[in-house]
Amino acid sequence: MRVVEKTQLMSATEIDRTLQRVAHEIVERSGGTAHLALIGVRRRGVPLAQRIALAMRAIDGVDVPVGTLDITLYRDDLSMVAAQPVLQSSEIPFSVDGKDLILVDDVLYTGRTIRAAMNGLFDLGRPRRVRLCVLIDRGHRELPIEAAFIGRTVQTSDMEIIEVRLQEVDQEERVMLVERVP
């Protein structure tokens, strides 16, 4: 199987502008930043959460706490394939009890990652509210999960893959639409 790049969906500037907008939306619809905390889903949700926190600081002057979550132990597909992902640490240096949490991930697809992330979160305590923020919503949900904050909605086919490439992880900054060619 090969993959070929089809189009660029977002440039570095567009990613930045989108995250600024999303940060504004979160602050506005939360009535400020009190009790708010961001949880980045590994890997690319982590730098996105950090950037949103930075943008929120510019808006409200407050440092919103950021945690990171590795969902490997909560995946539902481990027993389906012969390979195993390397476990990473989750770092959530604050209590989630009573917090207004925003889960941050790069792409919302089947919803299974977010299901896993919620299971992980609830092992840590009882947040007051959990909402989801994604850079790209590409459809094809397999679970009743929707995002409250969306950077961009993209219509995709099953053969297509959305690749979010971020400076912190990939040493480049753009969102690509690629296609699997059998």
């Binding site: 909560y74 481990l78 992902p85 092992d123």
Partner: protein, 339 residues
Amino acid sequence: MIHPETSAAELRIAPEEIVPFRFNDLLAIEPLHADEITFLLDQAKPFQEIQRHPLKKLATLRGKTVGIAFFEASTRTRISFTTAASRLGADAMQLQAEASSLQKGESLLDTVRTLDAMKPDCIVMRHSSSGAADFVARHLEIPVLNAGDGTHEHPTQALLDALTIRDRLGHLDGWNVTIIGDILHSRVARSNIHLLSRFGCRITLCGPPMWVPQELEHLSACGEPVRRVTRVEEALDGADIVIVLRVQQERLHEPKLPLDEYVMRYQLTPERLTLARPGALVLHPGPMIRGLEIDPAVADGPQSCVLEQVTNGLAVRMALLFLLIGHAGEDVSAAKESI
């Protein structure tokens, strides 16, 4: 054969984030490379965090069964493995030697084959004969985890000790390690010597001469041979890490050694510990006999890591169970291809 790229694509993650080693069993430390050991210790870290969660139970291995076959008395290792399995959501199937057919004359192989026929996903086993785990692994398809075989190895103990050392001192490389006690009969000592010497640690063994035979000098995996010292004061001089072994009282009769003489010559006391480097770590695999091999003031002192060792034991065993049975296994992908 696994194809990392295909599997990574199925999991929608990058190929470099797929476990780079294949562990079919864990029988001994001796054959492991330093990068494999480092990887195992890294994978224990997320499980250390889970011990601090208010809700410690995962569903990761739900539906899996861990066969726990102990043919030798043990409480702490058995509880640790059983708890590790349960915190991962797996069920434990217990076989107790005292209550088993072994006493009725059944062979080891027949016993484990019977256990295997109940379809556990792996077997954790302890046996008083060296090589027993290896023997069973050669006859069973499922992964075998050695929880101690005779005087050979106790790999999970060495891994939890290494994790404890790494947490306290930052790394494993090049420390001076002194092991005190009955080295001859200690599988803990052997696994620790293999593991720590792999990272260039200089090992010094100390105990009554009949418990520290010359052939142990060749166990070191680095250039530096294992040093044997009779006087505990000399052995402790400059030590960064002191591992105190339990005096196995059942073995004291072999060559006659009065207990009070052992206490006088080898007990780790606060005065003797000052001969080691300031802040040197004190480890003990347990069960610890206060007032015999270790002075209570040392056991409860700030340099003692005894309780961290117990907590880390859970994390290491969870990591191993997850690595060995947390995926589908190669046969499934082979079956998929043939469809």
